[in-house]
């Protein structure tokens, strides 16, 4: 177990590096980090491909697609592609890359995937209501000292702390 954990960065070093990356994206791209926005744009693109008329008539979708607008032509989409390949390369360099589902001893692969997907969907829905997710609101908004982002972050962690108690047996 000791050798396994040595393959990961120290969380403090990673935190500082993430902060510097955030600063760098503000300097280079003029925008901060985000994640759920890329998912939202991918969904919008998929809906636009299947039913452009629906996208045009829907006030939420039409902000991002419809007409000449390409919902995928956005910094967040490319950032998330970069995160994927960066993570891949990092896993390869640490020689710990393999296909696996991580879960606690009491739950099956399938159960873990169902719970993760459900949790992800709730998180995604919440992120759109809050106009951002952990990275978009807490990280990027928090860095600009936006009050709303700090409230979001504190509320999110408080809520997560409470709900985690209900699911603790999935992990121990």
């Amino acid at each position: 177990m000791e050798s396994e954990s040595q393959k990961y960065w120290s969380p403090y070093a990673a935190g500082v590096a993430l902060g510097l990356i955030l600063l760098l994206t503000f300097v280079l791209m003029g925008r901060g980090l985000g994640a759920s926005g890329a998912m939202m744009r991918t969904v919008t693109w998929a809906v636009d491909t299947v039913s452009p008329a629906h996208v045009d008539s829907n006030p939420y979708f039409s902000k991002y697609a419809g007409g000449d607008k390409n919902p995928l032509s956005n910094w967040l989409v490319f950032e998330v592609i970069g995160v994927f390949f960066g993570g891949l390369l990092s896993g390869m360099l640490a020689k710990r890359m393999r296909l696996q589902v991580e879960h606690g001893p009491r739950i099956t692969d399938k159960g873990r995937l169902v719970l993760a997907l459900t949790g992800g969907a709730i998180m995604g829905f919440g992120a759109r209501l809050a106009l951002g997710c952990t990275s978009g609101q807490a990280l990027t908004g928090g860095a600009t000292m936006a009050v709303g982002s700090w409230i979001f972050m504190l509320t999110m962690f408080a809520a997560a702390f409470g709900v985690a108690w209900l699911f603790r047996k999935q992990w121990i």
């Binding site: 000449d68 032509s73 490319f78 891949l88 390369l89 390869m92 360099l93 890359m97």
Partner: protein, 313 residues
């Protein structure tokens, strides 16, 4: 709604305001043609160097896929033809000034050669395979005696095939983005790289994959060099060519080309292969898949951007 007013009096569908004649068929064919040329080229080279037993996937297994992939590519090319029944006319004339004539005669030579090459190596890959007709066994045995000559012919024709896939476009001077001599060598090297990647996916031998990774790193480096020169050449040329280069330097193809073709299709797999041969990461099939996807996308983008670029800005 995108409205375009043409005031020239020309009414040329698929030509004005920009060319939209070639669809998915041509880039798919160009990709598969390049892929097959790469597979056959390295198979023949390593066969002539007497490495058939040491590198069996390169020399013997890879070529088994070549005629099949080439047939799929030729089918795509055939689907693109407006007058499909006129295809035989390519073979009623030899026109040295036409790349299409060069291409059709090259294909007429390399398709049977690649089939023969696959049949010669089939008995080594599948030793229990028996042909239902003994005449085929006899014919294969007869041609096996001329293996070295066939390998030399394959080297020549595979190079011609790889080169011609680029020259086919660059000979078409009416489109500024294709109007560069670099496309021939670029597609040749890209074809070699994708061919190597395909064999990397098939090979289970570590030494062989190591060798392939070395070849691919070299091919990717040459490709990057050629891409840089492609744009340097355009930017040092006439305003029309500068405009064509700008399609990729801030224009509509910028992200697709630099992120997906150059970034994820060349630089990242090249880096992964470099780390792999130095033992920094465990070998995976990921770089090979990225190279193949990048090669296909390169041909789609070059074909579309070429049709989009024009003399009348």
């Amino acid at each position: 709604m995108h409205e375009i007013t043409i005031t020239s009096g020309r009414n040329l569908p698929h030509i004005d305001p920009w060319l939209t004649i070639w669809g998915w068929e041509i880039p798919v064919y160009l990709f598969l043609g390049g892929l097959v040329s790469g597979i056959l080229f390295i198979s023949a080279v390593f066969y002539l160097r007497g490495r058939a037993d040491r590198y069996p996937t390169i020399v013997r297994v890879g070529p088994l896929f070549a005629p099949v992939l080439l047939a799929v590519g030729l089918l795509a090319l055939f689907l693109d033809l407006e007058y499909k029944l006129h295809v035989f006319r390519f073979y009623t004339a030899i026109r040295l000034e036409s790349p299409m004539s060069w291409g059709s005669w090259t294909l007429a030579a390399i398709f049977p050669l690649s089939t023969l090459w696959a049949l010669i190596h089939l008995k080594y890959v599948l030793p229990n395979w028996r042909w239902p007709w003994p005449i085929i066994e006899k014919l294969i045995d007869f041609f096996s005696g001329y293996s070295r000559a066939i390998a030399w012919l394959l080297i020549i024709y595979a190079s011609l095939l790889g080169m011609y896939t680029g020259i086919l476009l660059s000979a078409f001077n009416a489109r500024p983005f294709w109007n560069t001599a670099i496309l021939g060598p670029l597609f040749l090297v890209s074809g070699l790289s994708t061919g190597v990647a395909m064999i990397m996916l098939l090979s289970r031998d570590e030494a062989e994959r190591h060798l392939l990774a070395h070849i691919d790193i070299f091919a990717i480096a040459v490709e990057l060099f050629l891409i840089i020169h492609l744009f340097m050449g355009f930017l040092a040329s006439t305003q029309i060519h500068i405009e064509a280069a700008k399609l990729f330097l801030g224009g509509p193809y910028t992200t697709e080309f630099w992120v997906f073709v150059v970034g994820l299709g060349l630089v990242l797999p090249g880096l992964m292969e470099l780390l792999e041969v130095r033992g920094k990461i465990l070998p995976t099939r990921i770089p090979a898949i990225l190279v193949l996807a990048g090669g296909l996308l390169l041909r789609f983008i070059v074909l579309e951007a070429g049709q989009f670029s024009q003399w009348t800005f």
